[in-house]
Each structure stands twice: as C-alpha cells, then as structure tokens.
C-alpha cells in the first residue's frame, strides 16, 4: 500500500457514516451472555424494518463494565443487561427516547474516572473490520514511523515517553528496544507475549480481541526500530476469540499490504505469524516462550544470555507484552511528551486492570498511573457489595501479593506496589472481603504455582509442592508452629534459588499474607493445637483392647 492509499481509505471510510449506530460488545465476557445472538437479532430487526442504510449494527470491543453485560451502545445511550428479545425495542427507541429500564449510567465514576489510551477505540471500532479501524486512525503511526522517522528516533521517542513493560516487571521499553537494536546480526525477531495466564487477569485478551490491529501496528513499529523483519505473536490457545480476531487482522493487514514486503513503498518489510501456546503458564516467561515457539518443551533457561542477544533460534529477539505494543501507536501519534505527562514520575501512562472478586463493578478499567488504590476500589469499582468490609486486594496474580485495608491510600505505580510487598503485574486485581481467609488465599495461589511449575528446577518443582502441603495443613487446622517456621524458610529459599520468575515469585502471596495477616495463620494453628490437645486427652482416656492369639 502506498501512503496516499491509506489516506484515501481513511477518508472514504470516514465518509461512510450512518444516521444511527448500534454497537454491541462482542468480546468473550459479553459473548458468553449471547451478545452474538443479540447482534444478529439487532441486524435482523434493522433489516426487517428496511432501515439498513440508516442504521449500522456492529460488534465492538469491550466497554469495561463486564458485570452488567451484554452492553450495547445505541448512539449516545448505553444499555446494560440486554437480551436478544430487547432488540425490537432498542431499534424502535433509536428514533425516539432511549429505553429507561435498560439504561446504564455513563456518568458514574466507573466511566468518568478512567483515562483511555490503549482502549481509546474500544466500544467504537469493529475489530474485525479493517476499514473501520483505519477510519479511526489505525496504521497512521506506522506510516509516520516508516516514512518520516529513523529507527534511533523511534527508540528515542519511546525512551522519552517513559513507557515501561506492561507484562509485570516494568522494564523500560525504550531501553529494551535499544538493546535489541544494538545487538549484532541482520536477522532479528519481534515477539508479542500474549500468554496471559494469571488467575483473574484478562487485559491482554481484551486488547487482542478488541483492537488487534493496534497490537500489529505496535509490533511493526518495534520491528522497524530494532531492525527486525519477522514477528511472532504467541497467544494461549485458551483464547479462541483472540486467536480468531488476530488471524483475521493479520490476513487483512497482509492483503492490504500494511504488513509484508516494502511497507508503504519503503525498504521496510515485516511479516507476522501466530503461534499458539499449549496451556502452560510458564510459557509467559520469555525464555520458555522462545523454547515453545522453537517447538521445544516450554521450560525456561538460565539468563544471561538474554533474548536481546540470544533469543528465538539464537537470534536477537525483542519480547514485549500485548499491552506494551498497544501503547506504541498513541505515543508515536501524539508524542512522547503527551504520554509522559500522564502518570507519575517513574511510571508513565495508563494501566489496564481487570477488576474481579468481591466488588460491585467487575470488569476492565484503564486508569492513569498514580491513582490511589482506594479510588479504584471504592470509586471506580463501587466498593464491596452486601455491606461487607474490604479486607485485601491481590495485585499481580500468583506472582504478586495482597495489599491490606490500611495501605489503600498508596498510589498505583511500579514502585509503590513493590514497596507494599506486591507487584504491578500484568494487571489482575482480585478484591477480597472479610469472609476470605488469607491463608486460604495463599493456598489457592500456591496450588496454581504448584500445578504450573514446569519441573525443571528443584526449588520450584518440590518447593511449591511442599509449601502447598504446609499451607494445606495450616488451613485444614492440622498445622503446628514448626510448620509455619518451615513455610517461612521455604519461601525464602524458593525465592532466592529458583531458576525463573515463576519460582522466584511463587512465595510472594504467602510472604505478603504473612506480612499483613500473620495473625490469621497463628489463629488457625492455635485452633489446630487446641483441637489436638482435646483429642490427645480423649485418646488417653480410651483403652485399646488387645487380643493375644495363641
């Protein structure tokens, strides 16, 4: 595609407007509530009335408030809990007043306190329709990059923006790109890590389902910056819809020569292929992911050498998370300075969080870095339902930790969360109320780590099993004070000696619950001891009769 063609396409697509638009969320959350049936019902209704030229029905990305789904946007009004049988009424109401019973308040803090950067086109564009995406500015950043910027300029721009990896560790993205660009050799790879596996996290899935072209565009820009010609998107096979949308997006982009050879008539070529994960959480770790793409058993290897120097098939490789790539296009379009003014001094931009657990509004939010945790829990998420009290929030999934009520005023950024004993992680937030027992929470996450440990290194393979066994004893009221001490020793050892991030962070849920809620562990052990005292007493009072055989 020539640069002019993209502009003509954009203008043409923008001219194609309808009087009314009905946008139905067609991401996994709402789809599970039959939003695809609803979308069909709406288009049938529109066809039946013969107003197809005036009303456009389209499937769009996630609008955030998943707990009230399926969500439908009818022009300016947003409807919640929509069922297929509401279709005639909704189409009817387009010409008149919105239906009051179905209306969802878009002025509530859940919507007003968000800042959309990555998700700016969610709920607006049809992810399966390239023309629609182009109408909203897709591939403009790529055009700008390859036609007006040099690779060092792109890297400088990303460094200036202060963007940090959204996969969890928060490594500066610009620095990573610079490292790969400086690695020798002409063959390089760019990998998109879409192996999101944390319990309670679905940000990357949403981005891949809701705006796949933005991920592709980010990858292409990254490839241009580091000098790579090949890209791999690694998605877990448990995300069939994301796989379908990405496949479609790649095919469409390839057909329109937005990826492929000599993009926009320049010397830059970029090819992408999709690889599916086979259900191992550890393949989110970069070296294990590379092994998996190479067709080997998905186990991590010791670093260094880092993938930046020795990655896929031994070539320098850039690995970033889905959300990181999705941040690239806005940075290029609006400039590093614009991006850098969002967020805190060391954590720039916005972060998507998946809100789950004991809160009123579960779903997906995008907030600027530096927002207070309290604002997220009580304002955006609407607090704890059923009049229960807040107890803790787990951030970062099984690699993170819990944050108790008295630390709710901390701000959400990489440093503050680390200081509180948790991590930013990929963005899962699981809220727990007073009914949750924290030792049980730790046991849940440890069970996850135990079943997901690859088995390569002994501390993680056996250590997670032993920690789970000890937690099980404590939770089932069979624990002793020695068990608790052993658990603490194990946490320290597994953290220090494990090979990869999975093992090194597996003890975090235990360590953080011990840090803030050790009393709960002590109580369980005290109960166990009390019960044991009673049974011992009962045992001695009973006589065992032995029969002597001749």
């Amino acid at each position: 595609m020539k640069p002019e063609e993209l502009m003509t396409m954009m203008e043409k697509a923008r001219a194609d407007t309808f009087e009314h638009e009905l946008r139905v969320c067609t991401e996994s959350g709402c789809m599970s509530l039959q939003s695809d049936v609803l979308q069909k019902a709406l288009s049938d209704e529109v066809k039946r009335r013969g107003i197809s030229d005036k009303v456009c029905v389209k499937g769009v990305g996630c609008m955030g408030l998943c707990c009230n789904g399926p969500l439908v946007k009818a022009d300016k009004a947003m409807y919640q809990f929509v069922k297929p049988e509401h279709a005639p009424a909704i189409v009817e109401a387009l010409a008149t007043q919105p239906i009051k019973e179905l209306l969802c308040d878009t002025q509530q803090p859940f919507f007003t306190r968000q800042k959309l950067v990555v998700r700016e086109h969610f709920g607006i564009v049809d992810p399966e329709n390239l023309m629609d995406c182009i109408a909203h500015g897709a591939y403009q950043a790529l055009l700008k990059t390859v036609t007006t910027m040099t690779p060092p300029q792109v890297i400088q721009e990303i460094s200036d923006s202060g963007l940090r990896g959204r996969g969890g560790a928060g490594f500066p993205t610009g620095l990573k790109w610079a490292t790969v660009s400086k690695a020798g050799g002409t063959t390089k790879y760019v990998i998109c890590n879409g192996d999101e596996g944390d319990p309670g996290a679905f940000m990357d899935r949403s981005v891949m389902e809701g705006d796949p072209h933005r991920v592709l565009e980010g990858m292409a820009i990254a490839a241009y910056a580091v000098g790579a010609e090949n890209g791999v998107i690694y998605v877990r096979a448990e995300y069939p819809l994301a796989v379908k949308r990405l496949t479609k997006a790649i095919n469409l982009a390839r057909r329109h020569e937005l990826i492929g050879h000599n993009i926009f008539g320049t010397k830059f070529s970029f090819n992408v292929e999709l690889r599916l994960g086979a259900g191992a959480f550890v393949c989110g770790e970069e070296t294990a992911l590379i092994a998996s793409v190479e067709g080997k058993r998905g186990v991590p290897r010791p670093r260094p050498p880092y993938p930046a120097n020795y990655g896929l098939f031994g070539y320098p490789t850039l690995i970033n998370n889905v959300e990181t790539y999705a941040n690239i296009a806005p940075i290029i379009n609006k400039g590093a300075a614009w991006f850098a003014q969002i967020g805190t001094e060391k954590s720039k931009g916005t972060k998507i969080f998946a809100l789950t657990g004991k809160i009123k509004n579960t779903g997906l939010i995008e907030v600027p870095m530096g927002i207070a945790l309290r604002d997220i829990i009580y304002d955006i998420a609407g607090g704890i339902p059923d009049g229960k009290a807040f107890k803790a929030v787990q951030t970062g999934g099984p690699s993170g930790g819990c944050i108790p009520a008295d630390l709710l005023d901390i701000t959400v950024d990489y440093e503050s969360l680390a200081k509180a004993g948790s991590i930013m992680g990929s963005g899962g937030m699981i809220v727990m109320d007073e009914t949750s027992n924290m030792a049980d929470v730790a046991r849940f996450f440890m069970e996850f780590c135990m079943t997901e440990s690859c088995g390569k290194c002994i501390p993680c393979r056996v250590g997670t099993y032993e920690m789970h066994e000890l937690l099980d004893r404590i939770c089932e009221k069979r624990g002793t004070p020695e068990d608790l001490q052993l658990l603490k020793d194990l946490c320290d050892m597994v953290k220090q000696t494990s090979l990869c991030g999975l093992g090194q962070s597996a003890p975090n849920p235990v360590l953080s619950t011990l840090r803030y809620f050790e009393q709960e562990y002590q109580n369980l052990i005290a109960e166990a001891q009390a019960a044991r005292g009673q049974t011992t007493h009962a045992d001695t009072s009973e006589h065992i009769e032995l029969e002597v055989l001749p």
Binding site: R297, R301, P304, S453, T497
Partner: protein, 242 residues
Amino acid sequence: MSAVTSTTQSITLTIDDKAISCRSGETILQVARENNIDIPTLCYLEGLTVWGGCRLCMVEIAASPKLHAACATECTEGMTVRTTSPRLKQYRKMIVEMLFAERNHVCSVCVSNGHCELQNMATKLEIDHVRFPYRFPHLAVDNSHDYMRLDHNRCILCLRCVRVCGEIEGAHTKDVKGRGVLSAIIHDLDEPWGDSQTCTGCGKCVNVCPTGALTHRGTAVGEMTKKTEFLPYLTLMREVKL
C-alpha cells in the same frame, strides 16, 4: 610478523578470597573446579549442555543482590565470588532434603547404595534428617528393557540421561512428560523402554545417572556401580560442539 590476535581474553577474578585467572567464556563452575574449589552439583556434567536445574551450584557474587548458578554464569573481569556461606549451605541442604521428600529414596534397599551421588551429596552437606513432608508417590519401575531398568522412584530429574541420549548418542529416545512434581522420564512417545524403536541400547544413560534410577538389571542392593571412565571424553564425543 604481526602480533597473534585471539578472541579469547584472559580474565582475573576472585573465588573464595583466592585470586584466579581464566579465559573469557568460561563459567564460574569450570574455573572453580580447575582450581580445586568444590561447588556441589547434581545436574551438571561436563560435555553436556548446561541445564541449571538442580540449583546446588548457586554462588554469591559481590555487589549482586541475587544468587547465581555457577554452571551458567560466565566469569567477568574483577568478579568476586563466594562459593560457600551459612546461607548457601542452608539452601543447598534444603534442596537435597526436598529431593529425598519428593520421591521414594530408600537407600537401604537401593542397588546404588554406597555409589550414589545423591547419597554422597547428602553426606557431604551433613543432612541427618529431612524436615519436609514426604510425598510418597506411587511410581512405576520400567523393567521392560532386556538389560537396563528405569526406577522412577529414585529419579531426581537431573535430565543427564535425556541430554546424553540426545546430544552424545544422538538417539533422543528419552525425554520428559508432565510438569512440576508430576514430570517423569519417558521413552519415545511414553512407551515401555523395551518397546522403544529408537533406543540403541548404548547404556550411556545408565552410567551418567547419579542415582539408582537407571541401572543394569540383575543387580542387588549396593551392587550397581557405574562406569564413569568415559565421562571425561563426553566433550570429544559430541557431534555438535558446545
């Protein structure tokens, strides 16, 4: 005559307060062993690719908050390494204790009793009891091969057998199935060893196995001694150089 140029450079470093010189590209473990400094290992075997799984060779490097696996860390100029400390000793002890708790290692009835690297390691690290809950898994013994035997109960998953089979013999009969504590050594596509079409019967796996997991059939308690004469030549036996 122009000066001889070489890509390898000499490096000086300190291991356990001892000033040592080595070539660039050499690992801490190699250099330490060359200088008679003992770092315990179970999965490392010279000539096989570095695995980094047993974590016994973890060492402290000055000015680094993390521990490093000596087998996988290359020496750098001016590095100060400490191969033993109360903390490292404690961790190593725990790792070996965990191995004993993981599967059914009963030395008194083991064919390798007295010739076992795991047993020797436990003695060396002064392990007199295991603090962890035992798993007591139900594991099979593969006795289907004509003259070799795989006892999963005694396997520590060091994967020396898998590596020697793939890298030296070139058969790649052995690999791993499952994950976490449920990982296990398999032959071909998880078939009985005796049915394997790819196994050449070379017996290298038996001789590199540190425990009594891979043994010759027909050995009684304590009778299984491994032939280790060929081990120093593993590097020479490789087709693909490291």
